[in-house]
Structures are given as C-alpha cells and as structure tokens.
Amino acid sequence: MTISQLEITHDELKHLVSERAQTGETLLLNMGPQHPSTHGVLRLLLELDGEIVVNCIPDIGFLHTGIEKNMEAKTYEKAEVMTDRLDYLNTMGNNLAYCLAVEKLVDLDVPERAQAIRVIFAELQRIASHLVWLGTHALDLAAMSMFFYCLNQRERILDIMEMCAGQRMMTTYFRPGGLWRDVPAEFVPAVRAFIDSFPAEVDLYEGLLDKNPIFLDRTKGIGIYTAEEGIAWGITGPSLRGSGIAYDLRKEEPYSGYEQYDFEVCTEDAGDVYARYRVRMREFRESLKIVRQALDKLPGGAVRSNNRKFVPPPRAELGESMEAVIHHFKLWTEGFPAPKNSIYMPVESPRGELGVLLEGDGGPKPYRCHWRTPSFVNLQILPKISKGCYVADLVAIIGSIDIVLGDTDR
C-alpha cells in the first residue's frame, strides 16, 4: 500500500514518514486502535521495512472524554467524581492528586489518620496498577499464566477498596479535607492478610520471569533510552528510574506525610525494557514496606477536617445543630469558594508525575483544571525508541512504558 492509497490525512503525515513510503517501498500499516497489545485504544501508524519499524506515528484521542472541560461546570466536590475516570487503574491516586490540589488552593488541613489511610490506599493502588501492568506486559510477551496470577491478586486489593468505598474501581473515597468516611473494623486485618501473603506472590512472579530465556531475550537491550534523553523528553516514574535517575516525588516533594516512611527509590541503570520491569518488580516490595509502616502507626481520631466552611458536617449533627444544617445546605447546593489564583500539585502516580494545575476564580467551581498526566508525556518518546526495532519488540516497548489510555486522552 502506498501512502496515497491510505484513507487517512495523508498529506498531513508526509513529513513524518520516509520518502520510501511514497514509492511503496515501505509498508504503512495500522496497529490499533483495537489491537490488544496497545493496551487500550492507542493507534500506531507504522512504516515498516519488512518486519523492521522505520517510523512510528502514535495517534491518540480515541478515549478523549473532555473531563477538563466538564470539571469547569461542576463544584470542587462534584468535579472529583470525574477524576476516577482519568486513569482507571489509579483511581485512588487521581483522587489524591485532586484532593491535595484543592486543599492547597483553599489552604485546608487534613487529619493525621486520614493522611495515613490515604497513603495506605495510594500504595495498594500502586501495587494493583503494577499488577495489571505486569499481567498484560507478560501476556504480550507470551507468558499467559502471569495474567491470571496477577489479576487474581489485584482482585484482593479491589475487595479492600470495595469494603471501604463501596466501589471496586470508581472509588471517590478521598474528599477535600479528608476521607468520605472512616474505614470499617475489617480493614486492618484484611490489609495485613494481603501484605503478609503478597511477598510470596512477588517471588513467584520473579521465579517465572527473571530467568525465563524467552522473556529475557525479548526484554534485554530493547527500547533503550539514556537518563539524559528521558529527562529531556519529560519521562517520569518507573520509566525514568529504569534509566538510573532516582526521581520519585514521594521523596523529592513529599506530600500526605510520605517523609515519615522509610522506603527506597528503586533504580536500574540499563534503561531497557528489562530494567523498567525490574524497577516495578522492586517497587512492589517498597510499597508493601510503606503500607506496613502506615498500618503499624495508624493514628486514631477524625478522618475529616473540622473546617465546616469546606467540609460538610457528619450526618449525626444535622438533627441537633441548626448551624450544621446551614453548612450542609450551603456546601451541597453552592459549594465552597476558592481564591482567584492557581497552584500546581504534583504527585507520584504508578506511571510517574501526575500534576494538577488548578485555578480558582473566587467562585465555587474550578476555573481551570489541567491534568498533566504521565501516560501522555511518557508516550511521546515511543517514536524515537521504536525506530529500527521489530514489530514484536514494539509490543514489549509499549508494555514497558506502562500507558493507560484514559490517562493519555483525558
């Protein structure tokens, strides 16, 4: 197929493919948006010379939902429901980024207990997200049983979320000023049971993959970028740590009390697919360490701020206090006002730096809420590192960058 025969915007893409595509010497081929190995609705336009990728043009936006625009029409509390839908493998993390941004914008404090529970959930969510990454990544590289093992464990984390938030995935459990409600009594034993049994599972995964010759052949020396290239392209998270930069926002700019916990920022030097795999495998154990420490010193007390101008009063107060009724009514009909200024709040999501640029206009609705999502930025390096590799390796590279298309397209 020559370029002129393609039913896409050919003229617009001429500058992105080589001249050989004009003569039909190389093949232009669509990969996706329904291809299972693109991890969602990512479309790649590939220029192929035999089985070698000459050029790769990512086409995103199939999952664009206009969340940033929609948030501008909701109050700060109601807009949070949409944050779950951005990166659907990191729902608690999105809630956390948004709540921290709102809290910073209006200068709202969060009780210790709520912060510790937030950290526990953020780390469990990181484990759950890495499990989906590992299962699908290994599945792409023909290790099918990994998918079943991983999703089986992820199910246990989703059960814990359901126990607390009432929802497996779309939790909206964190709220500006704290949590929706306190965790039930079964929460601590359930998390302890999980973190006690999960290290053996990680050993199992490593036993299946670390010395597996097929897996090693398909991951070592593939999709390499150096630390300098990674930084220049704005790569963050495990994808940058796989190139040897110990950049982790939980250490760099601690939030929610991450500075109290003892954990290691995992790095590998090779910068290839295998290095990024190793980083995430080690992060399983570091996340477990954080969860264990947070459980050990889980403080008691309230899980929501007492600042009634921003946080609705508990239901029980409504029957007794007129003031509580007024606050309840005002907050749920009108919302709370935020100052006419903007803040940028970055947090470490399982994929990298998740930043929220939140701007208020003095009213109860966000004037602008921009999501700097790690998948969007990290995906940009794909055309560069996939040049000259095999199509089969491209699948490994996409898996190793760990993109979520809901996060990319917003």
């Binding site: 617009e12 220049a232 803040i343 940028y344 700097r372």
Partner: protein
C-alpha cells in the same frame, strides 16, 4: 518558596523583565511572549531546569485581557526546584513560538494547546490536532465554546440530526 529559587527569579527579572508573584509558596514568573524561547533556554542551560514538566493554558475570556495565559511548569531535578512561567497571549488567534527545539516533549503539549485553545504555535514541526478528531470545528477548552452534548442518532431521525452536525469549513 525555596531560597535557591531567588537568584533564578532575579535573573529572569533583569534579563527578560519577568513579573514575579508567589502563591502558597509557589513562584510564578510572567514573561512576554517574545522572550519565552530564550528564557527557557536560559533556564535549562544556566539554571539547571532540565525538564519541562508540563505545559497548558488558561482562557480568561471575557473578563480579562490579554485573553490567554500559556502556563509552563519547569523542573530542576538536581536542586528540587519548580518554577511556573506564564506567558500572556492577546487576541482571539494568538501565536506562540515553539519550544520543541529546547525541550522535545513540548511537541505534544503544543499540539494540545492548538487543539484545545486554538493557540497557533509557530515553527512547530507537526502542528495537528491531537485529542479531537482531525475534522473537528472549534477549540473545546475556550471559555466561549459551550459545554454541549451530542444528540443520539436513531434510524428514524438519523438524517435530520446529521444535517445539523458541524462540518469542516472547506
């Protein structure tokens, strides 16, 4: 605001006439649009801001002039510094020079600015829509773009709704 950031802000102020402000311990520098590429190069080469962490825009229509602000987030990894640079852009069809020579990842961010705000990025290597379909009309994140909805087409009213749908203006 961290003390290490002060010399950077002073340098931006003296070299490019930046207007400095601070909110919740985050520093912001407002720059004129003609200085942004040079300022980004200075930030990267002289002050160690080696990562463009984010780029987006805000539309202040109709209250404020100039209408748009392009918002750059720069990150200095070694010194753990962050700096927000805002570039006011006037007019309904503003122009912004590309930063992709300095930071390669500005490419997709600037395509998003064009797609969502209609900010024309000059000298951009690949200025196409990125999130919306290629034949989309309008720029959704502008404040004068209504938060609309799409009518559901059934077989009985397919043609009627199809006629009302926006078409590319060619």
């Amino acid at each position: 605001m961290k003390a290490e950031l002060q010399p950077v802000l002073d340098a931006l102020q003296s070299a490019f006439g930046a207007h400095i402000s601070e909110f919740r311990e985050q520093a912001k520098a407002a720059l004129a649009v003609e200085h942004i590429v040079e300022a980004a190069r200075t930030l990267r080469d002289a002050h160690g801001f080696n990562m463009l962490a984010g780029l987006s825009a805000v539309d202040y229509w109709p209250e404020r002039q100039p209408r748009f602000h392009a918002v750059y987030e720069f990150k200095n990894i070694a010194q753990k510094l962050r700096l927000e640079v805002r570039v006011p852009l006037g007019g309904d069809e503003p122009k912004l020079p590309t930063l992709s020579e300095v930071f390669p990842n500005a490419n997709w961010h600037e395509r998003e600015l064009w797609d969502m705000f209609g900010i024309h990025v000059t000298d951009h290597p690949d200025l196409r829509r990125i999130l919306m379909p290629a034949d989309w009309v309008g720029h959704p994140l502008r404040k004068d773009y209504p938060l609309g909805y799409e009518e559901v087409q059934f077989s009985f009213n397919f043609k009627e709704i199809d006629q009302r749908k926006p078409r590319p203006q060619d």
